[in-house]
């Protein structure tokens, strides 16, 4: 049996685990209110529900992911040779991330791209937190209902414009012939246009701009449920404003902060548009490397391997961070 077919067995095992968990709980804690799933929903409706969710979780989520991982352990072969004698399991694609197979030198280029993507994304995450926190706090605690609704609308409307056009608008603004350079030169601050796109300013601004809302909403939701009296009480006790935030608001909003930061970070590392359209010519974003394996060199297994490396590194990083700040994963993704 081929390794690819093996993928289809894993979900069956997971389903079996689910089933056994259910059986065990039913036996350990008999509950007279409990009705069987098909009893509760009717046979027809229950079957429809299970089929829909089964199709989704298996064919759209679990199987493609697993299949991609399996594919990454295969060599890149032309379609005719796939499944043939050359189609063996190999870790060559992963090794190629560390050592360039062409000249056997260490693959600084790709490792550097991953490192740069991660560090830049962390910077963008921090930037967005700093930008969003004051407004989120203002909307959640200080603003009137009417004002908050208006601000919310103001936040959402720009996000109806898609990612590409938003990147485009920033490019118009930051280009060497763009409005900002026109203004700077007009005011005599600089003589020659500043290359905002070349020095990656455009990249950072673009990423921050793209994921502003993703930070804003979790923050707002978390701070909103904080009892206003707590802030009042802290103020009554004479705490300066920064202490109130440091001691009362931020610890309370920690799950929301974690959630916002996780989302911005993951989206930012995985983003494609902003680096493509706003990054400098020498800047290599890791998703662009993956993109090239797919569309330039048609080496899908290597692209898959790189994608998997990116996923694992990012998840490990997020879990590590959550652990450091003592937030459970459940709180962060809620």
């Amino acid at each position: 049996m081929s390794s690819r077919a093996l993928v289809f067995i894993i979900p069956i095992i997971v389903i079996a685990i689910f089933w056994m968990m259910a059986r065990r709980e039913a036996r350990r804690k008999p509950d007279p209110t409990r009705k069987g799933f098909f009893e509760r929903n009717g046979v027809v409706l229950g079957t429809v529900f299970v089929l829909l969710v089964g199709f989704w979780t298996l064919f759209l989520v679990a199987l493609p992911y697993l299949y991609m991982v399996v594919e990454s352990f295969h060599p890149a072969l032309p379609p005719m040779k796939r499944g043939g004698p050359d189609d063996v399991l190999t870790t060559a694609q992963y090794a190629s991330f560390l050592v360039n197979p062409i000249n056997d030198s260490i693959n600084w280029l790709h490792m550097g791209a991953l490192l740069f993507s991660i560090i830049a994304s962390i910077a963008v995450t921090a930037l967005n937190f700093a930008i969003c926190y004051p407004l989120a706090y203002y909307m959640a605690q200080a603003g009137t209902a009417q004002k908050v609704r208006l601000l919310m609308l103001g936040l959402i409307v720009p996000y109806w414009v898609n990612e590409i056009l938003r990147a485009f608008s920033l490019r118009l603004l930051l280009a060497s012939k763009g409005l900002i350079n026109q203004a700077l030169m007009g005011l005599g601050i600089t003589d020659a246009p500043i290359d905002f796109l070349g020095n990656n300013t455009g990249l950072y601004v673009g990423l921050s701009y793209a994921y502003l809302l993703v930070m804003m909403f979790p923050l707002y939701n978390a701070i909103e449920s904080l009892d206003k009296n707590q802030v009042e009480a802290a103020r009554d006790l004479g705490a300066p404003w920064w202490r109130i935030h440091w001691d009362v608001v931020i610890p309370y909003a920690k799950p929301g902060i974690a959630s916002g930061c996780t989302m911005v970070f993951m989206l930012s590392v995985g983003s494609l548009a902003a680096p493509q359209f706003l990054g400098g010519p020498r800047t290599l974003w890791f998703t662009a490397v993956i993109y090239d394996f797919f569309f330039q060199s048609f080496n899908w297994p290597r692209g898959a391997a790189y994608a998997f490396i990116m996923l694992v590194v990012c998840i490990a990083l997020v879990l590590g961070m959550l652990r450091l700040f003592k937030v459970s994963l459940g709180e962060a993704i809620r």
């Binding site: 009717g42 829909l52 989704w56 012939k177």
Partner: protein, 292 residues
Amino acid sequence: MSSKAIMKGMIGFYILLFFGYLFGPLLVMGVTAFNTPGYPQAYPFEAFTLDWFVKLYNHRNMMDGLKNSIVIGIGVVAISVPVGLAASIIMSQIYHRARGLYYLITISPLLTPGVIIGISTVIFWRDVLSVTDVTRGLFYKGIVLTILGQASFISAYCLLIFMARLTRFDRAQEEAALDLGATYPQVFWHILLPFLKPAVVSAIVIGFLTSFENYNTTTFAILADKTLVTVLAGEVRQGTTPALSALAVIIIGISIIGAISYEVVKRQEQNRAERAQRQAILAERGEIAATA
């Protein structure tokens, strides 16, 4: 001099900056849509023109892409809304111990970079659909793969929307209907689904828009086809034309109209609720008078 006034001024200034950051680039882009130079330029404003809108309309690729985007959006909604609904109902009924694992599996597409969803969709379905020539010929197409890839994470969005609404469902409603003789499917159609209707509407709107705007997953899954967003990306990569600004102006216009009509509907609903409340208070007074 009160420090409160300073604080207020600072907050106002900060909000101004924030929304300047949010809207500034879009405004500048909007201006370029009406300016004559071929390179999108906001200043100096040479002459007013609507040519770029005409150019946009005549842009074959973009119109084809738009059509595909709409087809894909409808396809994604048709899959994701029922899936999200079913998944939320299973979530509300699943055994406690299994719920954590189930939640993690269903929410994982939201944490996975879109690039990876796109890649895995293509790799998996290429081989699955290649099992027979017929399926390969019929379904191994960019539009189909994009629908499948997008549905994987948009279903998770829908699940979250339905879950949020379901937590406010009063289980006694379900029991009351059962007690009056309804079967479980009748409870679903008569009680639960009407209750979830606002969430269904949100899921359709959000699902469609998310699909329409998606780039990361679509780029990979679309293969040789195109959507509006991939055409746009190609245009932006090649260079810049004010026709793109014109498109953005149209999108912003539509979204502002949408936002306003949403506000109006919301306001009307609120008025209706207030009227109902007034009625109830009146009824209450009458009742007290009658018992006294």
